[in-house]
């Protein structure tokens, strides 16, 4: 469960990016977060994976208190999350297989179980034929699917995606969104920040709308009207 209570985030330069945000996301939910550019969507996700600390209020995720969490616990906390960015953030000199395997190496997974698990995940995202390709040899949509596979590698309970289709051509975007929905069906909580009105309206999921750091709308089966 994710719980924001009266969360404010003020950047050192004085920008108030989150302004008294309170909200609860239950396990297994699928949530779109929408809002115009600069509204505070990315900031909200950053506070979730503890890239940024909140300035006031409280934030708990799966029992982790993100205000009180100690620095050395943060890596372990992050392993509960799978994070996907607009710009993929793959290792350019590692193959598809190695990019996914990397997340498992980081947590000390033995090579044997890496070899068993990576192919499974790659087939979930439909990349079973691309093991040995390098990121530059793949399309944007394929690269994003590698990133998704990496996010799934350690079987996290929450997937956080910041504009995952931003650098993917429209045809492929639907694939990515469908994949995210499929992942949610497998029991994970999925948070997706997006600009794509069509998808939001089409998928009929919970939609949280942010404006100037405040939540202005939060509806299940909501529509995109930022």
């Amino acid at each position: 469960m994710i719980e924001f209570k009266n969360v404010c985030k003020k950047y050192p330069n004085g920008t108030l990016a989150l302004d008294d945000v309170s909200l609860t996301i239950n396990d297994g939910e699928f949530v779109f977060i929408v809002g115009e550019s600069g509204a505070g969507k990315s900031t909200m996700l950053k506070t979730l994976f503890r890239e940024e600390k909140i300035s006031s209020g409280s934030l708990t995720v799966d029992g982790y208190d993100l205000v009180k969490i100690k620095n050395r616990q943060i890596p372990h906390y992050r392993r509960k999350l799978g994070i996907v960015f607009q710009d993929f953030r793959l290792f350019p000199d590692k193959t598809v297989f190695e990019n996914v395997a990397f997340a498992m190496r980081v947590i000390g997974e033995p090579t044997r179980s890496i070899k068993r698990r990576v192919p499974t995940i790659l087939s979930i995202v439909g990349l079973q034929d691309k093991y040995n390709d390098f990121p530059r040899e793949l399309s944007g949509g394929e690269q994003q699917r590698v990133a998704l596979a990496r996010a799934l590698a350690n079987n996290p309970s929450i997937i956080i995606a910041d504009e995952p289709t931003g650098n993917v051509d429209p045809k492929m975007s639907l694939d990515i969104m469908n994949l995210l929905l499929k992942i949610q069906k497998r029991g994970k909580t999925v948070l997706v920040v997006t600009h794509e009105k069509n998808f939001v309206d089409y998928f009929q999921q919970r939609v949280i709308t942010i404006k100037n750091g405040k939540i202005v709308d939060d509806k299940v089966g909501g529509m995109f009207d930022a």
Binding site: I74, R89, F91, A103, R105, P110
Partner: protein, 301 residues
């Protein structure tokens, strides 16, 4: 706790070293140059020290006994000398006047003065006196020791080395001081060089470090390959520096020995252990500390 494979870290650090080829080579060269300068300097100072010791003829004072002393009195003088603070008990050597006469006579055997000695022996005359060669521990306390020796009944004459000892001590102190000063400066410089090299390496991999953090890599998991990389730099630099130092030292030593007979050059085989250990210590330390410091900024959490 799961097992992390050492081979992963090692291969990462080799790759890193290779990828930053130019910078790695540059820092190996700079560190190597610094080690060689440091090493040569240390060896120079050590050799100066050894040569100064030789001039000081090993902290000795020669004490002559009164002509009229009986054997018991002389033995008693010996006991008193051994009791003094600054005196090395086991290193007080007693030469009787008979021994000295015999030695001197042997030394001049076959020369024109030989007859003088023969005549002395025939007439039962011995112009020499019993002497004690006293080895002391502390050069800076030599004046006190001379005074104490002068107080002992039956000691007639003290062959003083105080002046020379003081001078030698003074030179040694200033050489050591300059030495330590330069060593510290060189060390700081080498640390600075390493830090900057690894900073560049880290900067080049800023993105990768960010990814590592997102997938939940711990600090040491991220740090270790860089630390290994720093260690490799240190290791290679100290290895090559050692070989260069060895060759240079032996070569220059040989040249100096040919041109001068009073100089003592400590053979390299006597100092090689210190050189390699010192190089490794400085090389590895700057490698490790350098990488740790350069990474700090990127690992705030």
């Amino acid at each position: 706790m799961r097992k992390y494979s050492l081979s992963y870290f090692l291969s990462q650090s080799f790759k890193g070293l290779w990828r930053n080829g130019v910078m790695s080579a540059a820092s190996i060269l700079v560190l190597m140059a610094l080690l060689i300068v440091m090493g040569s300097f240390s060896l120079l100072v050590y050799n100066i020290d050894v040569n100064l010791e030789n001039i000081g003829v090993l902290n000795e004072i020669v004490v002559f006994c009164d002509e009229n002393c009986t054997d018991e009195e002389i033995a008693d003088i010996g006991r008193q000398i051994r009791l003094l603070d600054n005196v090395n008990e086991d290193m007080v050597k007693h030469n009787t006047k008979q021994q000295i006469l015999d030695e001197e006579r042997a030394k001049y055997a076959g020369t024109e003065v030989e007859n003088v000695f023969k005549e002395m022996v025939d007439r039962g005359v011995n112009p020499y006196r019993d002497e004690f060669i006293v080895t002391y521990n502390d050069n800076s306390e030599v004046t006190t020791l001379e005074y104490q020796l002068g107080q002992i009944q039956g000691i007639d004459k003290i062959n003083s080395r105080a002046d020379l000892a003081e001078k030698v001590e003074g030179i040694k102190n200033s050489v050591t001081f300059i030495f330590i000063f330069f060593l510290v400066v060189l060390f700081v410089v080498s640390l600075f060089v390493i830090i900057n090299t690894i900073k560049l390496a880290v900067y080049a991999r800023k993105q990768e470090i960010a990814i590592m953090r997102y997938v939940g890599a711990t600090k040491w998991f991220i740090t270790l390959p860089f630390v290994f990389e720093g260690m490799l730099i240190g290791l290679i630099a100290s290895g090559v520096a050692y070989l260069v130092e060895w060759y240079m030292y032996t070569y220059i030593g040989k040249m100096l020995m040919q041109n001068s007979s009073i100089l003592t050059i400590v053979p390299f085989s006597q100092v090689d252990g210190f050189v390699i250990l010192g190089f490794l210590a400085v090389g590895l330390f700057s490698g490790i500390v350098g990488s740790a410091i350069s990474l700090r900024k990127y690992l705030k959490a």
